[in-house]
Amino acid sequence: MKQTLFSASLANGITLLGEHLPELESVAIAFHTPAGAIHDPVGKCGIAALSGEMCLRGAGDRTSRQIVEALEGAGIQWSQAVSTTHASVSGAMVSRRLPDALPLYADIIRRPRLAGAEFEPARQMMLQNLAGTEDDPVHRTMLALRQLHFPAPWGRPAEGLSADVEALAVEDVRRFVASHAQPQGTIIAIAGRIDWDDFVARIDRLFGDWQPGAPTTVATGPRGPRVAHVPHDSQQTHIAIAWTLPPYRSDESYEATAALGILGGGSSSRLFTEVRERRGLCYSVSSGYQTHRDFALALCYSGTTAARAQETLDVILAEIERLPGTITPEEVDRIKARAKSQLVMQQESSAARAGAAARQWYHLGTVRPLSEELARYDALSVESIERWLAAQPPKDLSIVSLGREPLEVPSALSA
């Protein structure tokens, strides 16, 4: 598969990544600064998220409203988000709009006003969103699982904690932006119909004189208990299970991804077949692989009526335990076919390709070509997956339930 990939770096530490997709009329761009929630100090959980929101509320010589009007008036589909590791602003647009869009993004990233008058509305907006997530039991279950399973601060919610957000002040935001929104570690990824040389020149003019700040570090703390129940007045009990896996940059991540796919990815997976198709225990059940730079995890989820929750958990745990030693060639073939489709079809979405490039750079320090990704999937076999499973069978599971009654967790797999 022929790909046109580019990369460059500026002296101040910014990485530029690009992929030319000539069949598209669009271009998608994403700016990721290393101002993620991992840097939220204890007691100020939510400061990264609030800072991300504040950066859009007035920047350069534009007010909050003028920024949105400029983006949307140019037909740009924009978004802003703060994850554990990065603060991101992005946009997808018809390619001829790009030259006008870049200076806007440069203002948002480099010259946010962080005005006192915008602080209270921004904080209220965040508190509203946090209250909304209280009404989403699946989201709450997964948050509880991350907090339980990850060492601090990796498991803290990137969206913040209401009690902490209530106590934040605009000075907190200013301090956070000054120390964490900086060029080292910033990734700017673009994909679609692009002119790479012109793009690099424009970015250099807009970001080249951005001065690096002091380096920041993250201290990783202890982790909490591994089994927990969150009481909630709901008809369904939600179950989430995690265990630790090798990260994406490890050579074994493809085996891990495949094993998790065989367990619970797709409608022919074991969990879907045994829990939903065979027994009708639930509407949704799945498992997948989620990675950070230094560690990754297996995540399983299901939600089911309280009376059938124990059976659901028991069946899921039995399937997890049964995994080593039982992988079939047909299952591996299906995993390969699904991976190939997904990788090839990404080519139709400029935003998906820009996202993939940034992700790979963060994890690997390079952009892995599609052909290499495909080759790694092609190299998977029953033997390679079994070898990995034998060395790292699922163990030390963290289990969270949310609902009216706690569940019984057998001790065999969990610590």
Binding site: E23, L24, E25, S26, R65, V68, E69, L71, E72, G73, A74, G75, I76, Q77, A92, M93, V94, E120, P121, A122, R123, Q124, M125, M126, Q128, N129, A131, G132, E134, D135, D136, P137, H232, S234, Q235, Q236, G266, S267, S268, S269, T273, E277, R278, G280, C282, Y283, T304, T305, E330, A337, A339, K340, S341, Q342, V344, M345, Q347, E348, S349, S350
Partner: protein
């Protein structure tokens, strides 16, 4: 992007929008049936049947269907609405024939009693899953309040009672009635080989018996609109926020003003940069405040959605109504109009790059009205809209008309 169409002898329409730029092929059966076509004793059968279609045919088990889709690397699924049931798969082009065969064979399911009983448990779980999420339910209750006795009042999922009481024979009867080839479209988009598509359709669907005089959809002359302003409350003790839904009449899907209606809602109630956004969301007064346009065969709705602290809901609903009164007095500004039109145009172009998005748009439109539009034609419509068009919509379907309103949330609400 060439458009191709062929009708089989039994009435099955085969359509495709082919693209040389695409690397995927999206395929789908669009069945002209949904919740509004159900009889009282069948409430929820359209959606339940959609699940059962994946449980196998006389010579294919449900497990085999799942294995085949995953084995061809397909991204396959289905959905049911008030007026449509759609089954689709996106695959690499070399899998086109395989995907068409599987989808086509699935359209003639076995509907085994044993599978029916197991899948009924899954449907009941799906209903409870949504029941546990306060934002869901308010929307359906609002539609029920707005439509009264009109067939569109029915929720797609059905209820625990209606699903519990449904016998498998009723589903078999519904399938025989509604899945005739002259009520279906096989649509495709992306890297499609049309000659092969038609040949495969003949092979797998050619023998399906048409319904000789397929009665037109249950189109009613005049949907009942809420003549009396009504606010109903649903107690959701476990909810944190209150969720309000407010509906008034809008243009239906055959009306020329449907495009202007979309643009009007973009100006007033898009999820960012709209009037509702700046007044309620940007200020932190509400978690969400949006306005959107829903269209059906013979009815349309302007639906406002608000989520906020329970004690604020009555006042914020009144402020939304006041905003609508102001708009109907003073009209739409030039700048906000231009911004929204550019935004909508941008969306049309970007969506045009994804075969699956084109499949849903093209297949859905064709299944209802036999109309096909290129991305360029859709763009031209958006770009031709003027403020006068929006003002005409505001006059014909006043947003400040008496509305059906539902508030779902924790107790202690005050009726405005």
């Amino acid at each position: 992007m060439p458009f191709l169409h062929e009708r089989l002898d039994n009435g099955l329409d085969v359509i495709a929008e082919t693209s040389t730029a695409a690397v995927s092929a999206s395929l789908g059966f669009f069945v002209n049936t949904g919740a509004r076509d159900e009889r009282d004793a069948e409430w929820g059968v359209s959606h339940f049947l959609e699940h059962m279609i994946f449980k196998g045919t006389a010579d294919l088990s449900g497990d085999e269907i799942n294995r085949r889709f995953d084995g061809m690397g397909a991204s396959a699924n289905a959905f049911t609405s008030e007026e449509d049931t759609v089954y689709y798969a996106t695959v690499l082009p070399e899998r086109q024939t395989e995907a068409v065969e599987l989808l086509a064979r699935m359209m003639r399911p076995a509907l085994r009693a044993e599978d029916f009983d197991t899948e009924k448990l899954v449907i009941l779980e799906e209903i409870r899953m949504y029941d546990d999420q306060p934002p869901f339910g308010a929307d359906e209750r609002c539609r029920a309040a707005f439509f009264g006795g009109h067939p569109l009042f029915r929720s797609v999922l059905g209820t625990v009672e209606s699903i519990g009481a449904l016998p498998v024979e009723a589903m078999r009867d519904y399938h025989a009635r509604r899945y005739a080839p002259n009520r279906m479209v096989l649509a495709a988009s992306g890297a499609i080989d049309f000659a092969t598509l038609v040949a495969d359709a003949r092979r797998w669907c050619g023998h399906w018996k048409p319904e000789p005089d397929a009665a037109p959809r249950l189109v009613t002359a005049q949907p009942r609109s809420a003549a009396v302003p009504a606010v109903q409350q649903i107690e959701r003790p476990a909810a944190t926020l209150a969720y309000a839904v407010r509906a008034v009449a809008g243009p239906d899907e055959h009306h020329a003003d449907r495009f202007a209606a979309k643009l009007l809602t973009t100006v007033l109630g898009d999820s960012s940069g709209s009037r509702l956004y700046w007044e309620f969301v940007d200020t932190g007064a509400a978690e969400q405040a949006t306005l959107h346009h829903q269209e059906f065969l013979d009815a349309g709705l302007f639906v406002s959605q608000l989520s906020c602290a329970a004690e604020d809901a009555p006042e914020l609903l009144e402020r939304i109504a006041a905003l609508y009164r102001q708009v109907s007095r003073e009209g739409i500004g030039r700048e906000e109009f231009e911004q929204a039109r550019n935004k909508l145009a941008g969306r049309v172009v970007l969506a045009g790059e994804r075969p699956r998005r084109r499949l849903f748009e093209g297949g859905g439109e064709w299944a209802h009205s036999g109309i096909y539009r290129t991305v360029g034609e859709s763009l031209a419509i958006v770009e031709s809209l003027t403020r006068d068009d929006l003002h005409r919509v505001l006059e014909s379907w006043p947003l400040d008309a008496p509305a059906a309103t539902i508030i779902a949330g924790p107790g202690g609400l005050v009726t405005p």
